[in-house]
Symmetry: C3
Subunit: 192 residues, 3 copies
């Protein structure tokens, strides 16, 4: 698997960004957990843990629209870096899914969130969305771009005492907006 | 007061993130200004002003939904750091309030903003929101999570010439989405 | 032209942030491309390419509401910095336009996005928006602030192998929400 290979994205009439070499990234791998497969960074060679910045890619396999949590993987990446302080930035390399930090105590919160966005931006085959013109990639594609614009493509979390400074009930999520399974990449950067 | 203590957040069936020790943070304190109390970082010990990154926590006591400005506290934190250049990141440790940068010239902008979000995401006891399932924490709780997802949990502002590079009329706000008073924490990170 | 001069922003009854000196910024200039003029950073003096952080300002002249791409300018800034790894942050110094990363393959995506936000937040002379109170700056002004709050004021993109780690079809856009031409400034910060 080439982690930089585009997935779920259309051929375009524009020049695409060239894929980045994965050799510049650390700890790419694949595992499966729950509804999503998340790439776990492995241990780092001794010297690297002392260097800034550190980068890795989380690969998440989604099984449909909704929120996919990867908080544990994020915490582990920071812990294995050996760094006590820093800034962790997450960046999703797609335009039909996004990132969010939400309550991870009651799963109903995540279902209600997803349902709100479905009602705010219905599928393009809904009569209320007849005005959409980008429809060739399926009725869920343009609404997915809109939902992504309404949420976040990047998140930055301070690292304090070797952990991302998440609040007590905050979880980190990939918010998938496409209906069919996708493979999603999130670049993580741990800097000064 | 333990600045890391959860407030306004529910007990959950999930394992909570452990509270972070406040000893890793600088300048925690409390003051009161207008409708909100904002923790002001005190002066830093001489050596610290030379080191990256610097972190502090702003604690804001809200008196209800709406925008609470803390631009002055942010500018003071940067000034007291002694740094001419850098990147300031603000991260809110809650999921029912958020951050935004908005015009601070006319207070009507802030009222209209809050009113727009109330109309877009009404209270869960409004007939149009009958489909919400996360309702045990009050009719304003799930709408608050949705409004938080629609705005920002983190903001990054370049520091230029010893000041956050805010535009002429930009102010930094905590956007409270809960109806009752809350104590909110924002972690600030000034990095390279 | 003073790149820090406010444009399209109202005189207020609040103390404005003082303009920042442009001498602290690198590579300010002006060019014109398509519907927008984008300031291109020139080459850097030899020594500078080795130092963190690097900062510049992109100035974009918009010709009306909609998305204005400046991906090429962002990539060039990173390339000319000579840095292989880092974190690029973009920050827009206005409250009636915003930033987003969206698909740059099919221009219909950008038109549909703009149209969605027009329908979600109509002009203040639309009967459904009669409740707005901040109307003195024109019927498109308060809706522009709301659209800005719904999207992003800052974006952070990891730099990998000398390039921003954008996905295959991701483009970087200024999202203009005002109807009339504006001159917009985006501060770019390339840090560790």
């Amino acid at each position: 698997m080439n982690p930089w290979e585009p997935c779920g994205q259309p051929p375009g009439d524009r020049t695409a960004n060239p894929p980045l070499p994965c050799t510049a990234l650390l700890g790419i791998g694949t595992s499966t957990r729950g509804v999503a497969g998340v790439a776990r960074p492995g241990g780092y060679p001794p010297g690297l843990a002392q260097e800034f910045p550190m980068q890795t890619t989380f690969t998440i396999r989604t099984r449909g629209a909704g929120l996919h949590e990867f908080t544990d993987e994020v915490i582990r990446f920071v812990r294995e870096s050996g760094r006590e302080q820093g800034l962790l930035t997450l960046f999703v390399q797609h335009t039909s899914c996004s990132l969010c930090i939400q309550e991870n105590a009651d799963p109903a919160v995540q279902r209600d969130l997803d349902e709100f966005f479905r009602r705010l931006v219905p599928s393009s085959d809904d009569p209320s969305m007849r005005w959409l013109t980008h429809t060739t990639e399926g009725p869920d594609d343009m609404p997915a771009h809109i939902k992504a614009a309404l949420t976040s493509v990047s998140l930055s979390i301070p690292v304090v005492s070797g952990r991302p400074a998440l609040g007590t009930w905050q979880g980190v999520y990939l918010f998938e907006h496409r209906a069919r399974p996708q493979q999603r990449r999130i670049v993580a950067h741990l800097g000064a």
